[in-house]
Symmetry: C2
Amino acid sequence: MTMITDQPVPDTSPAEVSARCAGAAAAADELSELGTWPPARRGRLLRAIADALDEHRSELVALADLETHLGAARLTGEVARTTAQLRLHATVAEAPATLGVVADVADLAAVPVPHPALRRFLRPIGPVAVFAASNFPFAFSVAGGDTASALAAGCPVVLKEHPGHPRTSARTAELVVGALERCSAPAGTFATVRGLHAGSALVVDPRIRAAAFTGSLRGGRTLFDLATRRPDPIPFYGELGSLNPVFATAAAVTARGREIAEGFVRSVTLGAGQFCTKPGLLLLPRRHGLAPALIDTVRAAPPSRLLTSAISDAFAATREQLGGIDGVRTLVAVEDSGGGSGACLFAVSAEDLTSNAALFEECFGPAALVVDYGSETELLELASAIPGSLTASVHAEPDDDEMVRRLVARLARRCGRIVYNGWPTGVAVSRTMHHGGPWPATTSPLHTSVGTTAVDRFLVPVVLQSVPRRLLPHPLQEGTNAGTSHG
Amino acid sequence: MTMITDQPVPDTSPAEVSARCAGAAAAADELSELGTWPPARRGRLLRAIADALDEHRSELVALADLETHLGAARLTGEVARTTAQLRLHATVAEAPATLGVVADVADLAAVPVPHPALRRFLRPIGPVAVFAASNFPFAFSVAGGDTASALAAGCPVVLKEHPGHPRTSARTAELVVGALERCSAPAGTFATVRGLHAGSALVVDPRIRAAAFTGSLRGGRTLFDLATRRPDPIPFYGELGSLNPVFATAAAVTARGREIAEGFVRSVTLGAGQFCTKPGLLLLPRRHGLAPALIDTVRAAPPSRLLTSAISDAFAATREQLGGIDGVRTLVAVEDSGGGSGACLFAVSAEDLTSNAALFEECFGPAALVVDYGSETELLELASAIPGSLTASVHAEPDDDEMVRRLVARLARRCGRIVYNGWPTGVAVSRTMHHGGPWPATTSPLHTSVGTTAVDRFLVPVVLQSVPRRLLPHPLQEGTNAGTSHG
């Protein structure tokens, strides 16, 4: 068990940030498809990290519970999710498809232009800056999905710790570095930095070739601007904030209104409302009659503490601000028990919602808006008005099919995942998952931070023209004419 | 034959730019996988455009020759390349893989988290702003690769014409619009705008969801900054400028020095040095003895005119500037025949090259630097020092294999295509091509503007969770468990 002291953990100095980036750049050569750690060998590294975390699970959970108040049950589950994610990315690293080799022999008869022998493959983009999130001290932190997918791609990682769980971060980083050392991974494959200024220095360091971030719209925008204003801009993959609207039809409310109300509140209050997929908006038909069920369920929800006092203060301020907006009624607001856990629901009309931009911003914590709509037309208009979102959910009955088809077509332009008769919280880590969406949900709508395709963010195509097979490193000799994505 | 007059073509007003973007947004719904023009139907549009261009080839070539001085032979070939490219993208649109459907059934026993039924597919990103290039009045202009790949993805296009060939652009646009009308494509599927201010207005229009650009570093950076500084930043795919270095080993120079010298000069002067893949740098072993062959070949090259007087003036200025840099010797400089065609070669040492940033910038036109290196170590160091480039070429003999492997490993980090014993000009349009590279070659190293994977720039993943098959539009019902890129 690591000793927990009250000693403040010092920030990383600019010189140290630079040194860690230099280390990552040196490791990048070794980790490439042309180095000593080609994809097929990289899986070992990810499994060693997963094993180390599993082995020290109780210690990590205890540390994280002290720092985040998320509770041992949730945190134990999160470590399991994190190590499963690392092992899934190990299989990604080892899959031949990750090298993306596609080859064509020379075709001197091609019309209009004869073409030479071409062999395309994917290389790691280079050192990646990862910015850890507050709300998942394991799954989106030191050894979380961004780190796992960057390493699977062959990219060294320099990780900016989240200040909300410094000791959990430090201990996890020790375990990661220890596991990499036991595998004889190149020095510099993984390092951490700490502090706001270190984070800014990291994203503009010339050796960093891409950045991944999960956090607030404000923090994400600041770092995105730094990344894109560099003399040599780099890709910045940020997940910034999401409203995650839930649409319920009249038929669904008639058939199972109470179930919808209870399910919504459970999803809103899960993890104290601190999930990026927390539904922040419930759209119900006018005269839905669900207010009592919603209020009762909020009142019955178990009390919980927010992650940090800064988050708690911000939540209290947003709660007060939302309650003061013209047209917004407070349906229920649980007394703040000191740690900022006071769950609350606000009611607002569709007109007031669309005329006030503040209502379209994510509120981080257990709060949500309930909006009533007057007609299917208004419901469809609202679907086109919502800002870019990670998810949207639809509760409907078979009689609604025609309208649901139209709703899904609109929502597909606004969000990365559409959930039918279910809730957005709980993101499966799989090859089919997409955790993304148009701005402000993410900075890069083509990409996901969860699931196996997260690795695509860090892979860059290169074509070898007329290069003889004998000159190719072994992994690149495997290519065939099959495997292209566009026949 | 269209009448060519000297009437100035007016710029597009802000109100007109906005109206064209609104038209594109309306068309976007129809072109989507959920609209009336799913991918399988879109191929028709691309083939109709190709047919219209082929049918009017002589007229287009005559117009373009007047405006660009590129000559009938080259321009006739370019029309053929352009229509072949449109037809290739028609097959991309029709390929089931373009929808990217990957589905997993629910797995309630999944560890650590059970997961629901998930079906991922790719949707068109929405209206795309395309900025035409000067140097390919067909292949990178109105109906060029960016337009073809955006339409294949299901994205309406608003194209900013290049001022270097206004009448060719206007006539091509007429043919495109006519072809789309004959197919009953949605109004707004394709429109053009004209003028610098119209271009700026286009890239910040809220309906535009992505932009594609081929042109100068300066112009591209300006538009990239506009795109990334929007309240809702959009992907900006720019190809900006490339040095395209050529490395030759001592053994290669001994075996076929004259051939290398002649091939290099031919590649430098092809199309008056106005290709984005023009080799701008030749690295030769010290005491290579190739200066006479290089000089003779430059003097023997046929005279040619640059595209526009602005380009001609810029070339003359850069030529003078380069010749005045300390340590730069003029090997040969053909008299400027009035149109700015004066091809020239400069010689510089490896030390002077790496200590002067101006020498690492692309010079648009028939000029290049010849650099001599002292050792293999110095050659490898130069390979790591070059800026991001679309291509790099290596001339070597079998005895050089060991060194070439190391050189290729380094170059793979700096450029998008490596050519062995060949020249970078002449870019095959195929499923294996990658025409991209790290900044400043492009703004987005993951993507290509040539070849079938160019369509990937405009496709955005969406996941449907627990959505019953009956609610899916027909094309999305096709999904199977196969076809994922990371098994």
